[in-house]
């Protein structure tokens, strides 16, 4: 698989996942403020992006309208839903021959859906729209999964999707924790159900959580969203899944390349940590370190597979063999 093509597929998947996660968070915030109408509810969303400076410069107040426009339809903000879906489509367009035609057509429809909503203004950034974004993301993912052979292309997309998810879950967890628990003394108590429920709902994990844990405590939240290996939006699950796909994409140094080493390290760390350790050491510090590791992993993936490396292949595969791995 051409490096450029692998990179485009990887980023296509990352951008779709980015758009979906953003839609989820905004949607949940919208629902929460129906009971709890404060400007405070919108600020964490902006903080979670890490782009407060841009927001400050272009918007100022954390009003519902400002934040929703910023995150949904701002075409000059590279991480808005509109920008993310546009980038996903652009990446797919240059590698159309590498993905199924159904996947391309769905992504194209997704893009048109968001573009058309953006044209009508921020009032369209409502619950119905965000549900639509989620649906399109699911549709795209489902079609992608059911129409692509499990070859390198599919695996690179899978890696992109799950790494992006891990990153986004960690951010929202970090920000919510910071906002909701500034007071160390409150650790270990049954916290405000409503606000933590909103976090769980934003990852579609509320029912799953309840089934496993019943009542909400910080330790259980951390267990579920960080360490769990069964729930598909838990960070550990995401890292493990990305790691599985990484081991499938091969490479001449596939036993020991930097990306594989790093993902094994992160996964191992998550596998051997207990929620007590995380809370005691500080959830924020833990997530900070995790994000740095995930960034490092992203860089390693780029360097190993997508950058224009000069290492020679070990064996000359025949065209027919090669077509199996494209």
């Amino acid at each position: 698989m051409l490096s450029r093509v692998g990179s485009s597929i990887y980023w296509m998947a990352r951008y779709v996942e980015r758009a979906e996660n953003l839609a989820r968070f905004i949607d949940v915030t919208l629902n929460v403020i129906l009971d709890h109408s404060t400007e405070e509810q919108w600020e964490p969303l902006v903080r979670a992006t890490g782009d407060e400076e841009y927001f400050d410069k272009h918007y100022g107040a954390f009003t519902s309208e400002n934040v929703r426009h910023f995150l949904t339809f701002d075409r000059d903000y590279s991480n808005s839903i509109l920008s993310s879906v546009s980038m996903a489509r652009e990446n797919a367009r240059t590698v159309r021959e590498a993905i199924s035609s159904e996947a391309w057509e769905t992504l194209n429809e997704f893009y048109l859906y968001v573009k058309n909503a953006a044209a009508t203004g921020v009032t369209s950034a409502n619950s119905e729209f965000f549900t639509g974004v989620k649906k399109f993301s699911h549709l795209f993912g489902g079609i992608f999964d059911s129409t692509m052979s499990r070859d390198k292309g599919w695996h690179f997309a899978n890696i992109g999707r799950y790494l992006e998810r891990a990153d986004k879950i960690s951010r929202i967890l970090d920000v919510k924790y910071f906002t909701l628990l500034p007071n160390v003394a409150a650790i270990g108590t049954t916290v405000d159900d409503l606000l933590w429920s909103s976090v769980l709902r934003s990852v579609s994990g509320f029912e799953m959580f309840r089934k496993q844990y019943h009542t909400i405590t910080i330790h259980r939240i951390v267990d579920f969203l960080v360490l769990n290996t069964r729930f598909p939006r838990a960070i550990h699950y995401c890292v493990r899944t990305a790691g599985d796909s990484l081991s499938q994409v091969g490479g001449p140094e596939c036993e020991s390349n930097q990306a594989l080493l790093l993902v094994a390290e992160i996964e191992g760390h998550l596998a051997n940590t207990h929620n007590e350790t995380i809370i005691n050491g500080g959830l924020h510090e833990f997530i900070d370190a995790l994000q740095i590791s995930l960034n490092g992993l992203g860089t390693a993936i780029n360097d190993t597979y997508f950058s224009r490396r000069r290492t020679r292949t070990n064996t000359r595969m025949s065209q027919s063999q090669r077509s199996l791995s494209h």
């Binding site: 692998g6 159309r96 292949t313």
Partner: protein, 491 residues
């Protein structure tokens, strides 16, 4: 909804590809006519629309340069196919094989000893001023001595019923993807008709192309790595590059994906560098290699020509073939056939006046209103004067151009191109067509049955190019002996 019939269809004045003068169908068109006449009202139009939707969905587009925002457009399509009778096809096929054979020998000669010039068949000044002659290619020896692996030759039929060669396209001829996709959508719309009419399949073009490309791999290697090199998504023919790569099952690469090292070409893959042996390059010579051609090209691969020179990569078509795309050189192709093959041309050129020759020039200047004047190296219908449709001012302007640079111009009588019935509103009208068969030259010379029929959709227009209001039709080579069209179902 009115029924579309041929009752009022007018064939006067031009050769009609479907009907004889008495309005009975030509041999091979009977079933088609029967089918059209038996369709319920509105059905043909409905199928036309279905086909157009299918083409849109499949994204069969081309980009028009100079159009605002470089928009993608669907290449317009008309559902009535153009029929080519078996006897006509045999003639065309033989003529094309002969022509490509001669052209290949010419190109090879021109980059070696130039015997055709020494023997005074082709004047030296003509060759020297051929814009696409590439001195960088002098002395090069492509594998098996083949320079033009993929050719698209444009043919037209005049009112006299004879088929003439309008021009050869020896650099990056495009359009074959439309041929394949037109056939695909037509078969879905009229499945029974294909079986009944004995239309020759086109479905094996990609495998023939792959075989042709593989056959010229360096050092005769078996199982070479073949790639399609594209300038990228903003190129007007990008869809075709992508389509052919996919159909052949080979990587579609851009210049940035390739690198030259150790006198070989490699592509950057997620596994590291992988050697490339044959490149089907859809990039013009000028942009192929900044070290040998235009240094400002961002589309090519630095050092590529060197690898080619050393015989470690095959480039299809070979650099330098553009010399024969020159319209003045075209005028000498019949002489080439005589000179290299000692044969008379099977397919004639359109009669051509060469403005370089004083007598021809005088005639042309005196008859500008009747002739089609063409600049030697323009494409797509640009740089052309269509005498009968031009104003006196335009003619005067062209006269000046000819006087200033006579070597650069040829002129031909206006041909009355043949016509094919085309849906216009609620009835049929004849529209002018040409035909571009595709010729592959590998271990042998192979001609795709049929080719691209381009149709001038505007009433009375003779200009068939996609950039100027042309569209296409499916082309049927009807071979009544053959009935095994089952092969065609696998597209």
């Amino acid at each position: 909804m009115t029924n579309l019939t041929f009752d009022a269809y007018d064939t006067t004045g031009y050769f009609d590809e479907m009907f004889l003068e008495d309005r009975s169908p030509r041999q091979g068109a009977e079933r088609l006519l029967q089918r059209i006449n038996s369709l319920p009202p509105g059905e043909l139009r409905a199928r036309q629309q279905e086909i157009e939707s299918a083409l849109l969905r499949m994204g069969i587009t081309f980009t028009v340069y100079g159009d605002q925002a470089g928009t993608e457009k669907i290449f317009p399509f008309d559902v009535i196919p153009r029929i080519v009778q078996a006897s006509d096809w045999r003639h065309i096929e033989a003529g094309l094989k002969q022509r490509i054979n001669a052209l290949n020998k010419f190109i090879d000669d021109v980059y070696h000893d130039q015997l055709i010039v020494k023997d005074e068949i082709l004047p030296r000044e003509i060759l020297e001023k051929a814009k696409s002659f590439r001195p960088q290619c002098i002395g090069l020896n492509p594998p098996k001595g083949i320079w033009c692996h993929i050719t698209g030759t444009d043919l037209v039929r005049h009112t006299d019923g004879a088929i003439y060669v309008l021009e050869d396209n020896l650099r990056c001829p495009s359009g074959v993807s439309y041929v394949l996709q037109n056939r695909l959508v037509m078969k879905r719309s009229f499945p029974q008709l294909f079986t009944d009419s004995g239309v020759r399949p086109v479905v094996n073009y990609p495998s023939q192309l792959f075989q042709t490309l593989s056959s010229v791999a360096p050092h005769g290697m078996s199982d070479p790595t073949v790639v399609v090199l594209t300038p990228g998504i903003y190129n007007s023919a990008y869809y075709e590059h992508s389509f052919l790569a996919q159909q052949m099952g080979v990587p579609l690469v851009q210049g940035e994906d390739l690198v030259v090292e150790n006198d070989r070409v490699y592509m950057f893959t997620t596994d590291g560098l992988e050697q490339v042996d044959v490149i089907y390059r859809r990039i013009d010579d000028d942009f192929l290699d900044p070290e040998s051609f235009r240094p400002d090209s961002m589309l090519g691969v630095p050092g590529l020509l060197n690898v080619y020179r050393k015989g470690n990569v095959a480039l299809c078509n070979a650099p330098g073939t553009g010399v024969a795309d020159d319209k003045v050189i075209y005028a000498y192709v019949p002489d080439m056939i005589r000179y290299y093959l000692d044969q008379e041309p099977i397919l004639p050129n359109v009669p051509t006046y060469i403005c370089q020759r004083e007598e021809d020039r005088k005639y042309v200047l005196a008859h500008l209103g009747e002739l089609v004047v063409k600049a030697a190296n323009e494409a797509g219908g640009y740089g052309m004067l269509v005498g009968p449709h031009s104003t006196l001012d335009e003619q005067r302007e062209f006269a000046q151009r000819i006087e200033a640079d006579p070597r650069n111009y040829i002129a031909q009588p206006t041909l009355s191109l043949s016509r094919v019935p085309t849906m216009v509103g609620d009835h049929f009208e004849g529209r002018h067509v040409d035909l571009r068969p595709y010729v592959l030259y590998g271990d042998s010379i192979w001609v795709l049955p049929g080719g691209l029929t381009r149709v001038a959709l505007k009433k009375g227009s003779l200009v068939v190019n996609s950039s100027q209001g042309g569209g296409s039709k499916d082309t049927w080579v009807v071979d009544i002996q053959r009935t095994d069209t089952a092969d065609d179902s696998s597209i």
